[in-house]
């Protein structure tokens, strides 16, 4: 995993993309109890808009000898999916992500409050499952969370979620 994260960091250093952050199941796992997932999602901000936004990443990694498998690139044994930022919330989440350490490697993970906002926005069954764990197991900065949710029109969805899955607080 350290080797995988090192290669991903290299993509930023070599200006293949502007910035990145760990997202999805692994970002959730960073905050909650270990959950089963099979890929490492990387949200990234591209250098410039182009038709094939993934091409520079795939080219760089192919030259390094890494193979693709479906929509993943297997980097040092880990299937990695690169996802370009697809809306303003996700872009801001990447920009404000937290720098964390994995062993000796410094990497970036979505901030908890942004992760919650994105999960509320995508709201798939697995997001709801993870949201429940997040609210049960972590300490959330409520002021920041509410600010983000209100900015992106997700506050009502949050209230609704809390009403369904938790007793009103």
């Amino acid at each position: 995993m350290e080797k995988t994260l090192k290669i991903i960091k290299e993509l930023k250093e070599k200006k293949v993309f502007k910035d990145f952050s760990i997202a999805g199941g692994i970002a959730a796992l960073y905050y909650i109890e270990p959950i089963l997932t099979y890929d490492l999602d990387i949200l990234f901000i591209p250098i410039q808009d182009s038709i094939d936004i993934l091409a520079p990443i795939y080219q760089y990694l192919r030259e390094k000898g890494f193979k693709t498998k479906g929509e993943h690139v297997v980097i040092e044994g880990v299937p990695v999916q690169f996802i370009p930022v697809y809306n303003d919330l996700v872009k801001e989440a990447v920009q404000y992500s937290d720098e964390v350490k994995y062993g000796r490697i410094k990497t970036k993970v979505l901030g908890l409050e942004y992760l919650i906002a994105i999960m509320l926005q995508t709201y798939r069954p697995k997001d709801r499952e993870r949201l429940i764990k997040v609210f049960e197991e972590t300490k959330i900065e409520l002021k920041l969370l509410k600010k983000i949710l209100k900015k992106y029109g997700l506050y009502n969805k949050y209230v609704q979620f809390k009403e369904i899955y938790f007793e009103t607080e």
């Binding site: 796992l29 909650i32 299937p79 964390v100």
Partner: protein, 57 residues
């Protein structure tokens, strides 16, 4: 009544364990994840094998 208390105790214990697990380091959690992937390998459905592989780290 005594049974309810026992169940309450079990639930509390589980909550506590989950909280402890959530506080492990990133690296420790990834080790557990790989163990989970290995455990799930034996029970996964045939048609879902393509994108569900154990990480070789």
């Amino acid at each position: 009544m005594r049974q309810n208390k026992a169940i309450e105790k079990i639930i509390k214990g589980k909550e506590q364990r989950r909280k402890e697990l959530s506080e492990l380091s990133f690296k420790e959690k990834i080790h557990i994840l790989v163990k989970l992937q290995k455990m799930a390998e034996g029970v996964k459905k045939q048609d879902k094998t393509a994108d569900r592989t154990v990480w070789h780290i």
